[in-house]
Amino acid sequence: MSATDRIALPLRRPATALAAWQRSALVLAGLAAALAPLWLLESFHLFQLTMAVIMALAVLGLNIVTGYNGQISLGHGAFFAVGAYATAILMSHLDWSFWATLPVSAVVCGLIGYGVGFPALRLGGLYLALTTFSLAVAVPQILKHKSIEGWTGGVQGLFLVKPDPPAFLPLTPDQWMYCMALIVSSVCFLLAWNLIRGRIGRALMATRDHPIAAEAMGMDIAALKTQAFAVSAMITGLAGSLSAVAVEYVAPDSFSFALSINLFVGMVVGGVASILGSLFGGLFVLFVPNIAEAISKAAPGVIYGVILIAFLFLLPDGFAGLLRRLAARLRRASP
């Protein structure tokens, strides 16, 4: 056992510990809310919601390395693209089933993330952001390249087909797609939640907040940072896999650097270093560009930028932070 085990502070119970029945009621209500759209929404809106869930998963991945570990990445669109292409290539060239491609996609993205983590060790802050940004800009070019055209389909991209729902479920492929996104995302959110609450999560945050002190306490900073990159890339890659089948199409230009920037904006607006915030981030990334376009058709990008800066100035802990503060105020008001 290392020294960190013994001296780690015990996690504080939240001020309002919920009784067991309250907690199960919450879980049931959440489940109902998550499943209700299956019957309430028609297929286009259900597709949008599916994409929002997928984006939330991608933002979660980014949040682990950037929010909790403090390594700023503007290149997570690259991992998203690799995951999407891994699934698309395996499904369309080798006829694998969708579920079988997920572990492969996770492993490939994890390895690439681990690889990117090494040069990242040499840089802090702004330079890491610029380097990952150049990764995001380079990826569409690499995907288009002739030497791998046989696999990636070049500029045209690859088409694939949504998996059919199992015979015993009375669902359409769209509804089943939503369920699959929900299942994969819930599992990842649960795993991330446990990771962050535990010893590793505290080590990640300690490395972010005070690397020298963390190292003095026996944490292996290099290992923590590269592994954080790997886990983060894995989660975002899984989101990419899901998006490939949800859209039924992958092409280099769907993974431009704008995607990486969107994920970053989603993370900031949802809440940096917040698991719940990632969920809001996903919803934001998918729905706000549409709303912005309704306000001004000409320049949704301008509005997007204004929202980002407004959040940084007024609500630096994002939407999740706002909710947290509101909840704290309510609790104080009603003892």
């Binding site: 040499r122 610029l130 930028g305």
Partner: protein
């Protein structure tokens, strides 16, 4: 052989543009410890301002210097309005503001001026072939302008009181403030200078790549690669690095990977330098005291 020579000369010409932006990055880094991601977008906006003035019938060189002045004011204003309130915030907030700026400036440029490609005039016209047809008048002229800017900036930082004050403000803000340097204004000045250098680079590159809102996207990355190659804390290293990246990019584009992978060359240089020699070719090895 002629082809190779021409590729190298063309590489030096584009390298001059990268060198200017690399220098802007290093100088601004030295003066403010910021790296403005929206540098390219702001330079594009400046170039569009110059274009509108030239379209309105103003002579080239008047428009050129007016644009530099306007860009300087815009850069300084951005620092005052956007960076100052988050001065003490974590780096993540800075990156967020840069990204917001990139989105706003980039899209506003397209919104105001449209996305159609425009011709930008060059002041260096010549009918005679130069150096046996190896180099165009514009390539020669823009390299000269770049070198002039570089030496001006160098002289400014090394041999003027203001340049010294700016370096002091970045090196040790608290002591600088104690000896009477207005650190806040030095930062604004640094941003203004970066915007002005960016504007020159934009006006020099626009006749080659044609003017459109996304023209500078790759240039920031090449410039960053150049700055890293030369050593991020060494201005003259950054200039050499910028030229080297221009030549490398052109040669790799022509003979090794083909034009469609040019940006990947920048990525490869960045990662290569960081893995093999993180301090760059001419940089100081940084030791931090624990």
């Amino acid at each position: 052989m002629d082809g190779l020579a021409h590729q190298i000369v063309a590489g030096i010409a584009t390298g001059g543009i990268y060198a200017a932006v690399s220098l802007a990055l290093v100088m601004i880094y030295q003066a403010t410890h910021h790296v403005n991601f929206a540098q390219g977008e702001m330079a594009t906006l400046s170039t569009f301002i110059a274009w509108s003035m030239i379209e309105a019938g103003i002579p080239y060189w008047v428009a050129f210097f007016a644009t530099i002045a306007i860009s300087f004011v815009i850069g300084a204003a951005v620092e005052r309005l956007l960076m100052r309130p988050v001065q003490n915030a974590p780096v993540l907030t800075h990156v967020g503001v840069f990204i917001g700026l990139l989105l706003i400036v980039g899209n506003a440029t397209g919104w105001i001026f449209g996305y159609t490609t425009k011709l930008f005039p060059t002041p260096f016209e010549s009918d005679k072939p130069l150096l046996g047809g190896l180099v165009s008048a514009h390539e020669l002229g823009s390299t000269a302008v770049t070198l002039a800017v570089l030496s001006l900036v160098y002289l400014f930082f090394r041999h003027t009181r203001l340049g010294l004050a700016m370096r002091a403000a970045a090196y040790n803000p608290r002591s600088a403030r104690l000896v009477g340097i207005r650190v806040g204004w030095m930062l604004a000045l640094g941003w203004g200078l970066a915007a002005a250098i960016g504007a020159v680079a934009g006006m020099m590159v626009a006749p080659v790549v044609f003017l459109d809102p996304t023209m500078m996207l790759g240039i920031l990355l090449y410039a960053f690669a150049g700055a890293l190659l030369g050593g991020i804390d060494n201005p003259s290293g950054a200039v050499i690095g910028g030229f080297a990246v221009g030549v490398l990019e052109n040669l790799a584009g022509a003979y090794v990977v083909g034009t469609e992978l040019k940006l990947t060359v920048a990525l490869a240089i960045i990662i290569g330098v960081l893995v093999v020699k993180p301090s760059g070719l001419f940089g100081r090895v940084v030791m931090s005291r624990v």
